[in-house]
Symmetry: C2
Subunit: 199 residues, 2 copies
């Protein structure tokens, strides 16, 4: 009988930890020390598309954590709108501009999740939920930003669908957990196959 | 200028109240006094399909609450599996049998939401998210039921996707809030049109 492998979440994101906790998983959290800007610049220089860039970032995070024998989960989420990638807004002014820009249109949340074991990537997953922001007036955006506050700056889209952000959408197509930041179902399948979880 | 209409949720369901609270809505809760079994029996006798039955139930709940001038929200969720309707399981034995029966297959959560105003139905919505339970062994179902406990009896499917229930799924297609029990985005759209919410 082999030992049950430990699970390590290579992420400082509270929502990703919440997702795994919600699913009843036992795991450790290690915030990876990764220069995301450098990886993005190199990915762009290499002509990688945004999906490949998200995978690179997720891999870098997973590989940055040393945990012998453990399954180290790395992940990344990139907002794609009209072919461009967006990071988390730097402040409320940028958040406002972004929502104004994206309202009445669809954007995509490119989600990459990977697992590393002993310095090797052993699993990869990509998901692309598509979200339709309703037509929103500048006054509505102001009311939303006032009410939601700077908490929204933790999200690439300047919204949190699990709370007030729901007021901004017409519809969301795709997996809910991928929207939140981690594709849970494929990850659970992998962890079951690895016998890291009982069921 | 007309007054902002009050919102009344005609439901004793904690999760539906949580959904509206999460979206930042101000509302009252009134548990409707409705004989659901009678409505179901009459719907069956009238040859209604499950969608129409869900709408009837939602309407009956909304109309059972008297709140002059208010928008009264009624809703119902029916689990459909192989053409049959399922209620909340009566206990852990039935929950186990249901999960065993449905594992490895798709089922549908028929969701009806309506609004009544001064005794008239003024809005109706139907949604049908489709869920695929993964192949699960009886031992896995037992482990899940032990860990999740009788809380799962509050759900027609004997699972709660927002917590441990996620361990049972391969994938879920459709709106997350409809899976939880109330189609939030169409409802918010209606409430905005009625000027019951600011944005």
């Amino acid at each position: 009988m082999t030992d049950k492998p430990r699970i390590v979440l290579a992420s400082g994101s509270a929502i990703r930890a919440d997702i795994l906790r919600g699913a009843g998983l036992t795991f450790e959290i290690v915030r990876p020390n990764v220069d995301e800007d450098e990886i993005k610049a190199k990915s762009r220089a290499a002509g990688l598309d945004l999906e490949a860039m998200a995978v690179r970032l997720a891999e870098a995070k997973a590989l940055a954590v040393t945990a012998p024998g453990a399954l180290v989960i790395g992940s990344d989420q990139i907002l794609e709108f009209r072919g461009e990638a967006y990071d988390k807004p730097s402040g409320m002014v940028e958040a406002r501009a972004r929502l104004l820009d994206m309202q009445g249109a669809r954007h995509t949340l490119i989600n990459a999740a990977v697992a590393a074991k002993d310095g090797e990537i052993v699993w990869r997953n990509l998901d692309r939920p598509s979200l339709h922001l309703r037509a929103i007036t500048p006054a509505e955006i102001d009311a939303y930003l006032d009410e939601a506050g700077p908490e929204i700056l933790k999200s690439v889209g300047a919204y949190q669908v699990e709370s007030l952000g729901s007021r901004l959408f017409d519809r969301i197509d795709g997996d809910h957990f991928a929207v939140l930041g981690l594709s849970l179902y494929p990850l659970l399948k992998f962890l079951r196959e690895q016998r890291a979880i009982e069921y």
